[in-house]
Each structure stands twice: as structure tokens, then as C-alpha cells.
């Protein structure tokens, strides 16, 4: 097929995804004729909305091997993370005040942990290995008698590395500690099963799997063990009292439909994304030297490719490929001027953290788009290296590590 490429090309699927047309189609009636409040028990408008919500609950549950009663709808993963961590810490305060997490977690987890520390909790931040992984042995060594929760992500949002959740889950089960996993990047991309993998709480977000923004879910185990949570949003007692607030019915219907598609198409889609990702990586590495893969070489998300290009700063590279939408772990893309905390935790080196680019491949990515992106990257890296004093020094045979740099900030 020789269709003209539509620019710009979207290769940032770990940031968000477009709503699948089939998802949108399922949602639309719930903005229009089926606009009822799912909590209205006295008329057909409410019953229809409630039926749609319960159907979506089953769809979400099926995607992660849970049952419908274990699904709490939220506004997204950040809220679900807040509810899980604060809800467990509050509910189990009499058992202990210790949590275990990792330095490579999303800010939603890290900032919630910081908040809990202010309230008197103690948090152990495990240091990941160079590929961003946490080992079951690290978790075992960190769990104490007063540990109430281990919080570790399924898949890392920046470098795509998968944690060995099943093995970590087994350790937590043996030790009698609850395990929460942020599976925002994992659901719909890799196989997730809360029973098989011994997970007690898990969050997911619709907009990372071709659903709408502003809706997500928290899985809360009901059996072996039954997990209890202290609600963080009080009100009308929706979601069995764990999350009050009128349900976002169209969003929930969209999340359910997105999970249904993710579940039924997972195998085919992940194989397709992996092939495109490998193709992109091979094309870039064939044409450019001094390229490093960030993250685990095999245990990673099929649609994620995080590369560092030596001697080239990430933001300037993004500028050079302006019709390809990607993101960078470089400081300059954020207001903080700090490079990615994930790459720092992995010890990839601050210079390489500044040189990193995350490519995210997804459901609607084509081979033509990947080829275009590869060409654009190669061209821009070559141009910027010609402009780079670091490349010049390396060409002269100078080891950059031996230079006394004068940092100005």
C-alpha cells in the first residue's frame, strides 16, 4: 500500500493513545439517549446506565483475571494509586507503617509515598538494576514484620522494562504482605493475571489502551486475602463506599470496551508492535554508532524503545525530528531541569540520560511511519554530532570521562 504519510507521526504511545473508533462508538449512546445516572434506582435511565457500568466492570475484570466485584472505577491511574497506597496505609496502620517501593516508579507512586512519609509512614525505596528491574530477592530482604504494602510497577513507563511481578508476588504472598502493582503501561500490552501473578491491588488507565482520558480502575482483591481500604474520597458511597462520586458512565463504557479489545487482540497486537519496534531499533543501530538501549533487552514492553544517542542532547534531537512526536528523558523537556529520575536510578550516567529518546509504538503505527522516523532520527543525529564538541573530542580519541568539566548548574 502506497498511501501518503500523514505528518506529524505519533510515536509517543506510552504518553497516551488515540481512542479506538470502536471504543468511541460504544461510548456515544451514553452521552446521548442513555445519559442516566448509574446511581438512579427509580427509573429506566438509571437502570440502563447501571447495566452498562456493570458490563464494563466485567470487561475490565476479564482483562486482568479478576472478578467484576473487585473493580473500583476511578478517574485514572493517579487516583487509583493514591487510593491504594493511602487507603492501605490508613486501614492497616495498626499492623505497621512500612511500605516498599522502587526509585524507578512513576511520580504518582513516589509522590504519594512522600506524602505518607510526612504522615509518619516509613518507605523503603529499592534501587533498580541497570535495566530498571527490581528482583524478588530485593523485595524479600526489604519486607519487615511491619510492612503493610509492596508497591511495584508492572512495566516502566519510560524504558518499558517489566518487573518479575509473578516472582515478587510469590514472595509477598509467602511473607503475608500485600502487593500493589501499577499496571498502567502493562494492561493490553503484556499478559496480566492477578491470580496467576499473586497481585492484591492493581491500577490501570483507559487512555493508555485506546480508551478515553479521565477514567481508570483499581483492582482490589476480595479473597485470599480480602483487601480492605480506607476511602480517600467521601460522599454518596459509590463503588461500595471505596470511591464516592457520580460514575463517569461514558468513560467507564469506553474503558470496558478498550479492555475487551485489548484482551481479545493482545497476542496479535503485541507481536505486531514488537516487530515494528525491532525494525526501528535495527534500522537506527545499523546506520548509527554510539547508540545505547535503555532498559532490559528482552523483558520489556513490545511497543517501547528507549535509546540514548551519545554526544547529542535529547531536546535538540527532538527539535531536529519535529514531525515525529517522541519524548525525551532529557532535562530540558521538563521545567525541572533534572533529567529523568528513572534513568538516574538506573545509573545510566547523567550525560546519557540527557541524550535519551523514548519511541512508543502502538495499534495504529505503520511500517512506513517507522521507516520515516528512523530516517529522520539518523539524519538529525548525524547533523547534531557534526555540531557537537563532545563528538569532536571523541573523534580525537579523548575519553570524555577524563575531562574536568566546569558545570554551571
Amino acid at each position: 500500500m502506497n498511501t501518503a504519510l500523514k505528518l506529524p507521526i505519533y510515536l509517543d504511545y506510552q504518553a497516551t493513545t488515540p481512542v479506538d473508533p470502536r471504543v468511541l462508538e460504544a461510548m456515544l449512546p451514553y452521552f446521548r439517549e442513555n445519559f442516566g445516572n448509574a446511581a438512579s434506582r427509580s427509573h429506566a435511565f438509571g437502570w440502563r446506565a447501571e447495566e452498562a457500568v456493570e458490563n464494563a466492570r466485567e470487561q475490565v475484570a476479564a482483562a486482568i483475571g479478576a472478578t467484576g466485584k473487585e473493580i473500583i472505577f476511578t478517574s485514572g491511574s493517579t487516583e487509583a494509586i493514591n487510593l491504594a497506597l493511602k487507603g492501605v496505609a490508613e486501614m492497616y496502620a495498626s499492623k505497621g507503617k512500612h511500605l516498599v517501593t522502587s526509585l524507578a516508579e512513576h511520580k504518582a507512586v513516589l509522590d504519594t509515598c512522600k506524602h505518607l512519609e510526612k504522615l509518619g509512614c516509613e518507605v523503603t525505596y529499592l534501587k533498580p538494576d541497570k535495566s530498571a528491574r527490581i528482583s524478588p530477592e530485593q523485595v524479600r530482604a526489604a519486607i519487615r514484620p511491619d510492612t503493610v504494602l509492596v508497591a511495584l510497577m508492572w512495566a516502566n513507563n519510560e524504558v518499558g522494562t517489566l518487573n518479575p511481578i509473578r516472582e515478587i508476588g510469590a514472595v509477598c504472598r509467602e511473607k503475608g504482605t500485600l502487593l500493589f502493582s501499577d499496571a498502567t503501561q502493562a494492561v493490553g500490552k503484556v499478559s496480566v493475571d492477578v491470580e496467576r501473578d499473586h497481585v492484591d491491588l492493581l491500577c490501570l488507565s483507559a487512555h493508555k489502551l485506546y480508551g478515553p482520558k479521565g477514567v481508570g480502575a483499581l483492582y482490589v482483591r476480595r479473597k485470599n486475602p480480602r483487601v480492605r481500604l480506607a476511602a480517600q474520597i467521601d460522599g454518596g458511597g459509590h463503588e461500595r463506599g471505596m470511591r464516592s462520586g457520580t460514575l463517569n458512565v461514558p468513560g467507564i463504557v469506553g474503558l470496558g470496551q478498550a479492555c475487551e479489545l485489548a484482551r481479545t487482540e493482545l497476542a496479535e497486537e503485541s507481536a505486531r508492535c514488537r516487530a515494528l519496534r525491532d525494525h526501528l531499533q535495527q534500522r537506527i543501530e545499523k546506520e548509527l554508532g554510539f547508540v545505547e538501549l535503555n532498559g532490559h533487552p528482552s523483558e520489556r514492553l513490545p511497543g517501547n524503545l528507549n535509546l540514548s544517542f551519545h554526544f547529542v542532547e535529547g531536546e535538540s534531537l527532538i527539535m531536529g525530528i519535529s514531525d515525529v512526536a517522541v519524548s525525551s528523558g532529557s532535562a530540558c523537556t521538563s521545567a525541572s531541569l533534572e533529567p529523568s529520575h528513572v534513568l538516574r536510578a538506573m545509573d545510566v550516567g547523567e550525560d546519557l540520560a540527557h541524550s535519551s529518546i523514548r519511541f512508543g509504538i502502538g495499534r495504529f503505527t505503520t511500517r512506513e511511519e517507522v521507516d520515516y522516523a528512523a530516517e529522520a532520527v539518523v539524519k538529525a543525529v548525524r547533523r547534531l554530532r557534526e555540531m557537537s564538541p563532545l563528538y569532536e573530542l571523541a573523534q580525537e580519541g579523548v575519553d570524555l570521562k577524563t575531562i574536568q568539566w566546569q558545570g554551571n548548574h
Binding site: 542532547e313 535538540s316 527539535m319 530540558c332 547523567e350 557537537s388 563532545l390 568539566w405 566546569q406
Partner: protein, 137 residues
């Protein structure tokens, strides 16, 4: 982040990219920044008498850092050393419409100018005997 047209222009068509002979007594070289901070600028000036006749740069850094150093080389050419020493980062900020988060790029460019001038002056001082090229100028 949206870039100003001038930043985009310098990024897409950088002026005076390249290198001068750093061993020449007429060339002053300034290298500032650090790879760990995400920006390194190398700025070089070639001087005849007290006037800068050529300037070159190479920069590892974001688009604003590249634009700041490119602009600096443009401004340096034809100026005397004393005039060059008065270039302030605020003028670069203004010319390129840099947002607050990018002001450090202009500071780095000013530092690079100062470092290049200092390097040139040091070379001259070390070379107390009148230099053939200096005499000719």
C-alpha cells in the same frame, strides 16, 4: 515547548559551526558546561590586533543552547576584544526571546565568550616576545 522563530532559525541554520586551530596563538578557545548538565559549549575566536576576525562554535545542548552560541559567534565577528567582553546574556535572552527556563543557555554563552577571550589573553601573555602574527596585525 514552543520555540521563537529566531531560535528555530539558528537551530536550523546555525552560523559558524566548526573549529579553528586551537594551537594557534591567535585563537582563543572557551569550553564551558558539562555533559552531566546537558550542555557543553565550545566557542573559538580568531584575533588580529585587538579585533575578532572569525568565530566558530560547537555545542552539545538543547535548541536554545545551540541558538545562543550561534548568535554569540555572529555578534563576536568584527568586534574588538573589549567590545566582545561587554556582551551580556540578557541581550541574548532578549534577541532570542528565551523563556525563563532557558536563561541558563544564554549564561553559558556569555561564559563561553569570556573563557575564549581569557584563553586568548593568556596565550598572548605567555608569549611575551612579540609574536610574528601580532606584529603583522
Amino acid at each position: 515547548m514552543a520555540y521563537s522563530d529566531k531560535v528555530l532559525d539558528h537551530y536550523n541554520n546555525p552560523r559558524n559551526v566548526g573549529a579553528l586551530d586551537k594551537t594557534s596563538p591567535r585563537v582563543g578557545t572557551g569550553v564551558v558546561g558539562a555533559p552531566e548538565c546537558g550542555d557543553v559549549m565550545k566557542l573559538q575566536i580568531e584575533v588580529e590586533g585587538d579585533r575578532i576576525v572569525d568565530a566558530k562554535f560547537k555545542t552539545f545542548g538543547c535548541g536554545s543552547a545551540i541558538a545562543s552560541s550561534s548568535l554569540a559567534t555572529e555578534w563576536l565577528k568584527g568586534r574588538t576584544l573589549n567590545e566582545a567582553a561587554t556582551i551580556r546574556n540578557t541581550a541574548i535572552v532578549e534577541e532570542l526571546s528565551l523563556p525563563p527556563v532557558k536563561i541558563h543557555c544564554s549564561v553559558l554563552a556569555e561564559d563561553a565568550i569570556k573563557a575564549a577571550i581569557a584563553d586568548y589573553k593568556q596565550k598572548q601573555a605567555e608569549d611575551e616576545a612579540p609574536h610574528p602574527t601580532a606584529r603583522r596585525a
